[in-house]
């Protein structure tokens, strides 16, 4: 059973008179516990693809099965439910809510899932400990560094135990040291069984994954396994 199975995925943006084909029939299968890097030039359709995988956007055509369930044409609320329980999404720009503390940001997906406050406290604390921010729970995003913000975002993506973690250039806004910290966390999560698909521009970052998929003009042109470079500290 694959976590993700897409078949002939197409996305066409209508821009007034002209149509832009961002994805032109992409096929991809991601198995459980894989760690995939998606690479390619700017504008090749990586983000478009990841947004569809994250159920944030719908394909124009083609089939998308998540855990063997066709989700390509589900209704809004059903998709919200999938985003909530099955997917952990990490953005390049963190997308934390500025008025909430780190703890409250991490707690939020569980509130929408209807988890009770005692269980929430336990999971949120665990997730923040896991990304090494157990001592920063009460801090607001603007009191945290970029790397710390991204770690809060990763903790938030973990709390509902998703089937897959999707990350769109998670290190794109960070210096290389902070980027390595993030990759360390991903490697460690992957080691513990997490399935991860991430978009990146950097060869160094891609080298930390197990498989690289390369896009060009809305199509996959290369899909190769990687000799994973394990970062220090990953246990």
């Amino acid at each position: 059973m694959s976590v993700i199975k897409i078949d002939g995925l197409t996305k066409i943006y209508n821009q007034g008179m002209i149509d832009v084909a961002a994805l032109r029939g992409v096929n991809l299968v991601v198995e459980k516990n894989e760690f995939v890097a998606i690479m390619g030039q700017s504008g090749s359709g990586k983000s478009t693809m990841l947004n569809i995988l994250g159920c944030l956007d719908r394909p124009t055509d083609g089939k998308y099965e998540l855990e063997d369930v066709d989700v390509s044409q589900l209704r809004d609320d059903k998709l919200a439910d999938i985003r909530n329980r099955m997917i952990g999404f990490v953005f390049q720009s963190f997308n934390l809510l500025p008025k909430l503390s780190a703890y409250e940001n991490v707690e939020l997906p569980m509130i929408y899932a209807g988890v009770g406050s005692v269980a929430r406290r336990k999971s949120a604390t665990e997730a923040l400990d896991r990304v090494g921010l157990g001592d920063r729970m009460r801090h607001k995003p603007n009191e945290l560094s970029g790397g710390q913000k991204q770690r809060v975002a990763i903790a938030r993506s973990l709390v509902n135990s998703p089937n897959i973690i999707l990350a769109d250039e998670p290190t794109g806004n960070l210096d290389s040291a902070s980027g390595d910290e993030i990759m360390q966390i991903f490697q460690s999560l992957n080691k513990d069984g997490a399935t991860i698909v991430m978009v990146t521009h950097e060869q160094d970052i891609a080298a930390c994954t197990k498989r690289t998929v390369t896009f060009r003009d809305g199509l996959i042109i290369k899909d190769v396994p990687v000799e994973q470079k394990l970062l220090g500290g990953v246990v």
């Binding site: 919200a80 985003r83 329980r85 997308n95 939020l108």
Partner: protein
């Protein structure tokens, strides 16, 4: 997401920008404030009027002929027979009748006279009109039986006729010139009439009030009839039923149909209350229009808020918020805004009511209903004007909301 969680975060969001929240609430505060103020003054003066009615005595019925047109015959007039018949009704506590005659009375200077109203009554009229007897006594049953030439006068009349109003006037005679010669009545009592001054102020001729045994006046006028009858019922709450029973009884006695009319203080009070309620309601409704303006202000700010927080909505949706969650959040924010505005308006309106009440001598009254109404209406406005912005937020596409700059 449960309501408690939503409420918590909505309150936080509302208070994140206190100045804006206050300005948005202002329309609601003013609207609710003025409605509450008017209602407080309205029910205050209504209560005051009702207590005046109660002082006057509830459960008082006045019976008279319904109309005085050609259809009225000699047999229709009320007489002592009717008095005796209605006296049998056990729901009636006191019963009197009255006959009025307009005459003149000689004053201290015997060449001068004043207009006087002679009122023939039964002794029980004392219980109905409940005057204060300053000196002497009231008309009693014996006076009725003997048709005695005695009278009870107001203290103001005593001053005009005898120059003083003390117990020295008891036993003195007043002189009333009539078409049957000057009648002399011995004063047996002096009544306090605190309204005398006001009465003379409103009627252009000074009126002296003289009460006589009804039989004495009937005798003088050569008639057997009464003008009206007055009753006090045992249970004021049953006034309307008793009034109907009495007029029916009269119709049977006289072999007529609906010839008699009974007016009772209870129904009069009801009528006035109804009218006051209508006036208060109307003014409140006009003031309530400002609530609509306030509501539009709330809608405007909520739309701005939704636009400003598009990205937040995108983030919430991306981590699993459903349409319902977003809608609840923004709707609750609108309700909290207007609800708090309503409570502040309530306080302000009551304070204003006390202020204005002080000026016009009314104690404002705030009822549980008006509190519930104010809070209910302000929350209702939150819902009414919050639904559109909340729905707009709920329907945002997650990816477009996230891309919003």
């Amino acid at each position: 997401m449960n309501v408690a969680e939503s409420a918590r975060s909505s309150i936080k969001n509302v208070f994140a920008n206190k100045m804006r929240a206050f300005l948005t609430m202002l329309g609601i505060i003013i609207g609710i404030g003025s409605v509450i103020m008017i209602m407080a003054i309205g029910s205050g003066s209504q209560a005051q009027m009702n207590s005046q009615f109660e002082e006057m005595g509830l459960g008082r019925i006045t019976i008279m002929l319904a109309s005085y047109d050609q259809s009225i015959t000699e047999q229709d007039f009320l007489t002592a027979k009717d008095y005796a018949a209605l006296k049998e009704n056990t729901d009636v506590k006191y019963l009197s009748a009255s006959l009025n005659y307009s005459a003149e009375v000689k004053l201290l200077d015997p060449k001068e006279t004043n207009r006087a109203s002679l009122t023939g009554i039964y002794g029980e009229y004392e219980e109905i009109a409940s005057p204060e007897i300053l000196f002497g006594r009231y008309i009693v049953d014996n006076d009725i039986a003997l048709k005695s030439n005695v009278c009870v006068i107001n203290n103001s009349t005593a001053v005009n006729v005898f120059g003083v109003a003390d117990d020295s006037v008891i036993g003195k005679q007043i002189h009333v010139p009539t078409y049957r010669g000057t009648q002399k009545f011995t004063v047996v009592g002096v009544l306090d009439n605190p309204n005398a001054e006001m009465e003379s102020y409103f009627s252009n001729e000074a009126q002296e009030s003289i009460f006589l045994p009804i039989t004495t006046l009937q005798n003088l006028l050569g008639t057997k009839r009464f003008d009206t009858m007055q009753a006090v019922v045992v249970d004021p709450n049953k006034s309307t039923e008793v009034a109907t029973a009495l007029t029916k009884r009269l119709d049977i006695l006289h072999g007529t149909e609906e010839k008699y009319y009974a007016q009772n203080t209870m129904s009069l009070m009801d009528q006035i209350n109804e009218m006051m309620g209508m006036i208060t309601g109307f003014i409140s409704a006009v003031a309530g229009i400002s609530l609509v303006v306030g509501g539009i202000g709330v809608m405007n700010i909520m739309l701005v808020t939704v636009t400003e927080r598009t990205r937040e909505i995108g983030v919430r949706k991306s981590i699993g918020a459903k349409r319902r969650d977003i809608r609840t959040q923004f709707l609750l924010e609108a309700i909290i805004l207007t609800g708090i505005g309503g409570v502040l308006g309530l306080i302000l309106g009551y304070a204003g009511g006390i202020g204005i009440g002080n000026l016009i001598g009314v104690t404002p009254m705030i009822t549980v209903q008006s509190i519930l109404l104010a809070v209910g209406i302000s929350c209702g406005i939150g819902i009414l004007f919050g639904v559109y912005p909340a729905n707009k937020a709920a329907k945002l596409d997650p990816i477009e909301a996230l891309r919003y700059e």
